[in-house]
């Protein structure tokens, strides 16, 4: 029973703009004319296509699988066809990744029939072994739908977990998909939580956390929850929804950077992930669609919409009605979202929100000015870092110093950049530094590998030389012996001749 909450350092309270999109029920999407499914929509190994151009596919059919078809042993999940149709291409397409490069995708032309493949739900999950249910979750393509996209089964190894936290905080401005989901489908979420609890070997505590700016969602969950599932209301602060921040608020436990929450017996999943688990296990439906908030001043009807994965973003925006020309399109929330260059990209598993802005919604972005060492950034950092120092060292490319100041504990939340009076895009510096450090570590590993191969090659050449020498000596010795034997035989023959 969680009685009191801890308060993490810093945090900000921006205007949520939640009532733009949380007033109406979730709407079902129409079937788009074609679907673009990137093979990598999660953190880990990309899936590999198992279909060919021209194949007919059914809704829910696996079109890309993990190596060896055993996803539960890898950091990977399969990709399913979100609707029935024909595969028309397997080729690189533009994907919503910060690089704006292309990546391999399977393109399906839908036939409008939406015909399901055979569905095999688990009749009674509580009687099945947890590992079997976990494999089922893996093969249903479920990843963390709160934004990170971690394959869900990775976090579901039953190793001494006593607390399961379902994250319904949704702290980022503009996003309301979890809010509507909790209001409209509380039973699905709670059943999903129970299934996850079973996979973890029966966690002692199960808590669903909701921010206190969502009273209707809290009420709905409270009414639907059994005794064994606790619903709590946490204070509304950004970024309460971050995994480590929410764990701290609920339990007071701080988790070191190199540790996982599992080491202190805690596992956290998003409410939408819990609902996806429910659908997979109870209804036999793999992850084919998700709730997305489509909002912003550039949308005629801001709302939450359940979208088939792979739907082109343009199709979704058209369904909601665009007001004027889109000036800016952001995938994600206002703090951590990614600005997309165009709306030709597909919706992927980790897309939780689309913010569409027309010209009159955008404030002119002030140019960055020099840092005045005011310290406002350090006051709001939820991880209690020193963003100012990280900025100076990242700017100077002194990566060792950034690590001394705990750069990798930074969660990219953007609170520091939000309050900076000089409008410095601080997070971009941290992302740059992290990328450089990771790249140089990879280079170091490659260099070690190259050195090993070089040394082995030297050893191999020496060994070949020594073997050759030994062989030649052997041949020489053999030929000496055979010469001596031939001479001896000839001498004997001669002697035999003389005697007779």
């Amino acid at each position: 029973m969680i009685q009191n909450f801890w308060k993490f350092h810093g945090g900000i309270s921006p205007n949520g703009h939640k009532n733009l999109s949380n007033q109406t029920k979730i709407v079902q999407t129409n079937i788009p004319p074609f679907l673009v499914l990137p093979l990598l929509q999660h953190i880990g190994e990309p899936a590999q296509s198992i279909v060919q151009v021209g194949d007919k596919v059914l809704k829910g059919q696996i079109v890309a699988h993990c190596r060896g078809n055993n996803c539960s042993l890898q950091m990977s999940v399969p990709i399913h066809a979100s609707s029935s149709g024909t595969v028309i291409a397997i080729e690189p397409r533009a994907v919503p990744h910060p690089s704006f490069l292309t990546a391999p995708c399977i393109v399906i032309q839908t036939d409008g029939q939406d015909t399901w493949t055979e569905r095999t739900p688990i009749a009674n999950y509580s009687t099945l072994e947890p590992t079997k249910v976990r494999e089922y979750i893996a093969i249903s393509g479920i990843v963390g739908l709160g934004g990170a996209g971690f394959p869900a089964h990775i976090k579901l190894k039953p190793e001494g977990i006593d607390t399961l936290i379902i994250n319904g905080s949704e702290c980022e401005p503009y996003i309301t998909c979890d809010d509507r989901l909790m209001r409209e489908h509380p039973h699905d979420i709670i059943t999903g939580a129970q299934i996850i609890r079973h996979v973890l070997g029966g966690a002692k505590h199960c808590v669903i956390a909701v921010e206190d700016n969502k009273p209707a969602a809290y009420q709905a969950l409270l009414e639907a929850a059994p005794e064994s599932v606790e619903i709590v209301k946490v204070p509304t602060v950004y970024p309460t929804g971050g995994e480590r921040q929410l764990i701290y608020v609920l339990t007071g436990k701080e988790i070191g950077r190199a540790q996982l929450p599992a080491t202190v017996g805690i596992v956290m999943h998003n409410v939408e992930t819990a609902r996806a688990v429910y659908r997979a296990v109870q209804l036999g439906q793999p992850l084919l669609s998700r709730t997305v908030t489509v909002t912003g001043g550039g949308i005629e009807k801001p709302q939450n919409i359940e979208v088939l994965l792979g739907t082109p973003i343009r199709f979704i925006i058209d369904q909601c009605g665009r007001k004027l020309r889109i000036e800016r399109l952001v995938m994600g929330g206002a703090m951590m979202g990614l600005t997309l260059p165009n709306d030709d990209m597909p919706l992927i598993k980790t897309t939780n929100c689309l913010i569409v802005s027309s010209v009159k919604d955008i404030e002119k972005k002030p140019k960055p000015m020099p840092c005045i060492r005011c310290g406002a950034c350090a006051q709001v950092c939820p991880v209690n870092l020193l963003p100012q120092q990280l900025y100076w060292y990242a700017k100077a490319k002194d990566f060792k110093k950034t690590q001394d100041y705990n750069l990798f504990d930074c969660i990219d939340c953007g609170c520091c950049a939000y309050v900076c009076p000089s409008h410095i895009p601080l997070v971009n510096y941290y992302r740059y530094a992290k990328a450089e450090i990771r790249a140089s570590e990879l280079e170091r590993k490659k260099a070690n590998q190259a050195r090993q191969r070089y040394e082995f090659r030297a050893f191999r050449l020496e060994r070949d030389k020594a073997e050759k020498k030994a062989r030649l000596q052997q041949i020489k010795a053999n030929s000496e012996e055979s010469r001596k034997a031939a001479i001896k035989a000839a001498v004997e023959r001669n002697q035999a001749k003389t005697i007779t």
Binding site: S99, L101, K367, M369, P370, Y432, A450, R453
Partner: protein, 181 residues
């Protein structure tokens, strides 16, 4: 009398410490120079010979011997040179302009329609990154290729090209933010 005692005591101590030092010098002798290992760890291991030495370890040894400056390694680049400067407590020097330009790592690619299977490139590769046999097709194992370019010259039909490594979503990285005030 006390003078004699003093002399005996100090001689005894000197003998004792001398023996101790002699023993440790023999018992704890380290083969090779550990500084060479540390320098070798910083060098990029391409074994390309651009520094004028036949490999990274000989270059590391030469630096320790004081024969050469620390700015002779183009693949290590400025970052490598600064790391060496910090390790050896020397002044950083900009890369020697007589040598090859510093550039992003390249990948060797064999044109399979031209390859004659002569194995000359296989013998040249310092990290055994080329797969093949006499009169069989040769190919470069992209994961192991360090971009040292030693295979390009021996090829009698000039079928090896150096290309830049294609950027994908997995090897892309954030660029340095630069703003005008």
């Amino acid at each position: 009398m006390t003078e004699i005692t003093a002399i005996i005591v100090f001689s005894g101590l000197a003998l004792l410490f001398g023996l101790l030092l002699g023993y440790t010098a023999v018992r704890f002798k380290v083969e090779g120079d550990p500084v060479v290992d540390k320098i070798d760890n910083i060098l990029p291991q391409q074994q390309c010979g651009k520094c004028g030495y036949p490999g990274c370890r000989p270059y590391a040894q030469a630096i320790v011997n004081g024969e050469v400056e620390i700015n002779q390694c183009p693949p290590g680049g400025e970052v490598g040179m600064l790391a060496l400067a910090e390790l050896l407590d020397r002044e950083p020097k900009s890369l020697d302009t007589n040598l090859a330009e510093e550039q992003a790592q390249l990948l060797a690619v064999i044109d399979e329609s031209t390859c004659i299977g002569c194995t000359l490139c296989i013998q040249a590769c310092p990290v055994d990154a080329i797969l093949g046999a006499p009169k069989q097709m040769h190919t470069i194992i992209a994961q192991e290729c360090t971009g040292c370019e030693l295979c390009v010259a021996p090829c009698p039909v000039d079928c090896i090209k150096m290309v830049s490594i294609p950027k994908t979503v997995t090897n892309w990285k954030w660029s340095y933010p630069s703003y005008q005030y």
